[in-house]
């Protein structure tokens, strides 16, 4: 009983951490530009796929991993420069369609370049499972959770203790006011796209040894990250993390106790219920836009 519950909890937390990183990515971009980047999931896919590609081409693992974070970050910035900036201030529908377009381009290119096969990465520190009260925990899960926790702490430090972080926060509250006090909001936009692509890629790399990856995993991971961001109250950083873990745990519990074939539906049922009954998410967040 307890062992089973713990088992579901571990797998939920692990995948939830990936959702949390994706949700943080959504949150960063949303706060900086009011754009929901529907291409976020593709950066998760890119992280995993590039890590596989770089290690297969003979690079040492650490180098491959760093590259697999830097390249998506550059692509994120390109998306912002080439596709988002030219339509500044456009209708929400327009922006949604553009980011969906970007996501299809990234996915399609990876499919053409690296093929349709499913790939895996070796676990960072072995596959010997750890036994806890009858449940097993993979060392890689500890990597996922540990790195996610470090990232959250680093982000918290960045936003509350550094000038650059505060500038980004100020821009999210009031763009015009931020510009008036001399904050370069163009730089803020640049940073938020780079950081959120990097966060997504990081999540993708960490979770690949457990869940495997292929060119088409981005959509679902991204959408679930978005669900997590909305559950946590869009724009609320801490909410995004809690939302990610919550979505992951509920998904794992639902798959374990109810039906594993409806696993992927669970986050979406959850989001519909939340949007219907508490449209500002569990933790408040920015208000839904009204006149």
């Amino acid at each position: 009983m307890l062992a089973e519950f713990l088992q579901f909890l571990f797998s939920g937390l692990t995948v939830g951490a990936t959702y949390a990183l994706a949700a943080l990515g959504f949150t960063l971009i949303y706060n900086a530009s009011n754009v929901i980047n529907f291409a976020q999931g593709e950066f998760i896919m890119l992280g995993g796929m590039l890590a596989v590609f770089f290690t297969m081409s003979g690079l040492p693992l650490p180098v491959a991993l760093v590259l697999a974070i830097i390249v998506p970050a550059i692509i994120g910035v390109l998306v912002e420069k080439l596709a988002i900036e030219p339509v500044k201030g456009a209708e929400t529908v327009t922006l949604i369609i553009i980011t969906i377009g970007a996501s299809l381009v990234i996915r399609g290119l990876v499919q053409v370049w690296l093929g349709k096969n499913t790939h895996s990465l070796p676990a960072f520190s072995g596959d010997e499972p750890i036994h806890i009260l009858g449940a097993t925990l993979l060392p890689q899960s500890l990597w996922v959770l540990g790195v996610t926790a470090l990232v959250v702490i680093a982000l918290w430090y960045f936003f509350s203790r550094t000038l650059q972080g505060k500038a980004m926060l100020a821009t999210s509250f009031n763009r015009t006011a931020a510009e008036l006090v001399g904050i370069n909001t163009g730089w803020v936009l640049f940073m938020s796209f780079a950081m959120s692509a990097a966060l997504g890629a990081l999540g993708g790399i960490l979770v690949t040894p457990i869940t495997l990856t292929s060119y088409d995993v981005g959509i679902m991971l991204g959408l679930k990250g978005f669900v997590a961001a909305v559950v946590g109250g869009l724009g609320n950083g801490l909410g995004a993390v809690v939302g990610g873990l919550l979505v992951g745990i509920l998904e794992a519990m639902g798959a374990g106790y109810i039906s594993s074939s409806y696993k992927d539906a669970i986050p979406f049922v959850l989001i519909l219920l939340i949007l219907f009954f508490m449209p500002r998410g569990l933790f408040g967040g920015k208000s839904t836009d009204r006149v």
């Binding site: 596709a83 929400t92 553009i98 381009v105 499919q111 959509i219 669900v227 979406f268 006149v291």
Partner: protein, 311 residues
Amino acid sequence: MKKSVFYGLYILIAILIVLPFFIPNAFYMDLVIRMAINAVIVLGLNLLIGFAGQISLGHAGFLGIGAYASAVLPTHFGWHPLLAMGAGAAVTGLLAALVARPIFKLKGHYLAMATLGLGIIINITIRNEGTWTGGPDGMPVPSLGLFGFDLTSDKHWYWVVALLLSISVWASLNLIDSPFGRALRALHGSEVASQVVGVDIVRYKVAIFVLSAVFASLMGSVTAHYVGFVTPNLADFFHSIELVTMVVIGGMASVYGSIVGAVLLTALPQALATFEGWETVAFGAILMLCMIFMPKGLVPTLAAKFGKGEQ
């Protein structure tokens, strides 16, 4: 709106009448029929996205309900195909109406998320209920018998979908140029202004959402009977995006743009069939380039360029 917009309808009907004489073989006949079916779906979706300014990223889900109603009900329960089609449309209408009220209190991103979630849930349900739906492999659909004869030849199908398309264009043009249609367009232009003149905006958004969902469901049934086979891909997220792309490239808030968008993007996969994978890249690139350089879409942009606005 001037009388001249109906000239487009006359031209369309003329084209539809002479077209069969220029279609060289069964391959192109099939392509044209699928273009026409998509055009009807896109017309309905454009009423929602282009005219009323609301997004739906889950429309393929409604299409799927219609398609699977036409597959499952006659196969497993012996229903008459027309009855099954009606039932699919009714269920779609009810489901859309049920979720629409809470959905349309939301705006922008939340609306996108909610419709997307709904579409994905429908798709997952179809994939998982293998006993009834054949799961990921899909299932065959019995042919559609109308008034004593079976609709099997492509020629007959052509005339059926040509008629459906003409009626849909006529009805859409009528709707847009009516108090109902003006209210829809007004709430897109300014929600607060339309409320102040008495438009109950949530009611109108719900009405057009339900209408376009029912459109999609009916055409899903037509697709199912025409192709003779249904798979869950009909109802997946990518197909929803394809439909939105058709609206966007042809022209938001343009009746004839919907047809052009459907024609182009139905032909595109054929043209790209030899380049595995590039299809996705092309769809994505079209979406982005269109929104950045031609946000009004093909037909309105060209119409403006040649000095004659559609409206």
